[in-house]
């Protein structure tokens, strides 16, 4: 993480790719949904509407 921080200090454009980074995408979607729910008072709209299967190599 310390090595990555050296790169992040220069504000690079970043990518999230499917499927390995899909959980990271859900994290950002959850944050956005949570903040929207707080703003409007409406129930949070969960980014997953059911089970999902992801595939990657690791």
């Amino acid at each position: 993480m310390e090595k990555q921080a050296l790169g992040l200090a220069h504000s690079p454009n970043l990518m999230l790719i499917d499927d390995a980074d899909r959980p990271a995408k859900w994290y950002f979607q959850l944050k956005a949904a949570h903040l929207e729910s707080k703003r409007t008072g409406a129930p949070m709209r969960h980014p997953l509407d059911g089970p999902v299967t992801l595939r990657w190599r690791s």
Binding site: L6, M15, D18, K31, T53, L54, R57
Partner: protein
């Protein structure tokens, strides 16, 4: 198949602006501020959560408290003051504050005919709960005009499955926005490149993975499954000859929770990534091992975590200011 992704990924955050929701940090949640062992007797401790400086301590009954580390009079850190077990006295003008409510109880400079309503003055105060060896602090949204609209949930706690257990702890500060720390937690593809070892895994051991996920409240779950054949702790657990089953949850704001069951043995761990400032976060791993002679397994796994965060090298790449404590610290309770 690749897809260019999210515009919401922050690669940097703008320094200097005040603590607010635009810092990408989530309010109205519990965060671990300090280890319980860090506050003893009447000594005061300090921490920072979401760019809010905190002073923490224990009252005469041992109950933890957290106040904003700033006197409402002139901003002097209250942590420089004196604590008598009930009230905290600012070192600058001797104003006194109730440690739990933050209510001002005395201003020594007031004359006898002063009409100032001392009891209407408050130092910022925050709900505190102790769980699993941490003092958790609830950080209410400073933008909310009234109090919380929903009842405050209890602070998170690792589940207990038996009376026999051992807790271990490992932590490190990470010099990046909390988002990067969190997505690092849920990133399955870096393992073969960062967590390599001859007995466990390398780029040559990479194989196809397929996992099921499902929604849970405020997060998602990697559904219960038999772990991958090239996963380190699981390789070791196979010596018990029992079926192994694991479930991994992520929940807002910052929590990854893993449970492994190996026959009659349970192993649970929680990782939290706590926002300290918008350019600094702290990762804490808390593990509970139950009814399982897993000391060796914990040791091996922690060494993998140490390997993930390299020691500071001689070159500082021109970075200014104090270095965060990225050397992982570990201990067992």
């Amino acid at each position: 198949m690749s897809e260019v992704a999210t515009p919401s990924l922050q690669s940097s955050v703008s320094p200097g602006s005040s603590a607010s929701t635009d810092s990408g940090m989530l309010w109205d949640f519990w965060y671990p501020a300090v280890r319980s062992r860090q506050i003893r007797g009447r000594a005061l401790s300090t921490a920072m959560l979401l760019e809010v400086p905190l002073v923490l301590g224990r009252d005469a009954q041992g109950r933890a408290f957290a106040l904003r580390d700033s006197c409402p009079h002139r901003g002097m850190p209250l942590s420089f003051g004196h604590f008598d077990g009930i009230t905290l006295e600012c070192c600058y003008h001797g104003w006194q504050f109730d440690a739990h409510t933050g209510r001002c109880t005395a201003i020594p400079s007031l004359s006898g005919d002063s009409r100032l309503r001392v009891e209407r003055i408050f130092a910022g105060h925050f709900p505190c709960e102790e769980r699993d060896g941490y003092v958790w602090v609830y950080m209410p949204d400073p933008a909310a005009r009234s109090g919380p609209t929903e009842p405050m949930p209890p602070a998170p706690q690792l589940p207990t499955f038996s009376e026999r257990y051992r807790l271990t702890h490992l932590w490190a500060e990470l010099p990046c926005h909390v988002d990067h720390g969190i997505i690092g937690l849920m990133d399955p593809a870096h393992g073969p490149f960062v967590h390599q070892s001859w007995w466990w895994r390398s780029r040559h051991s990479i194989r196809e993975k397929e996992k099921k996920f499902e929604p849970i409240a405020n997060g998602f779950r990697m559904s219960a499954h038999a772990p991958s054949a090239n996963s380190a702790p699981y390789k070791l657990l196979r010596i018990y000859g029992q079926p192994i089953n694991t479930t991994i949850d992520f929940a807002l704001p910052n929590m990854r929770f893993e449970q492994i069951r190996c026959g009659p043995y349970w192993f649970s761990s929680r990782a939290t990534v706590t926002p300290i400032r918008r350019d600094l976060c702290r990762i804490d791993f808390r593990r509970r091992v139950e009814h399982l002679p897993l000391g060796a397994v914990c040791g091996v796994d922690l060494s993998r975590l140490r390997a993930q965060i390299p020691a500071p090298g001689p070159a500082d790449h021109g970075k200014a200011g104090p270095r965060p404590r990225t050397q992982p610290q570990s201990d067992a309770d």
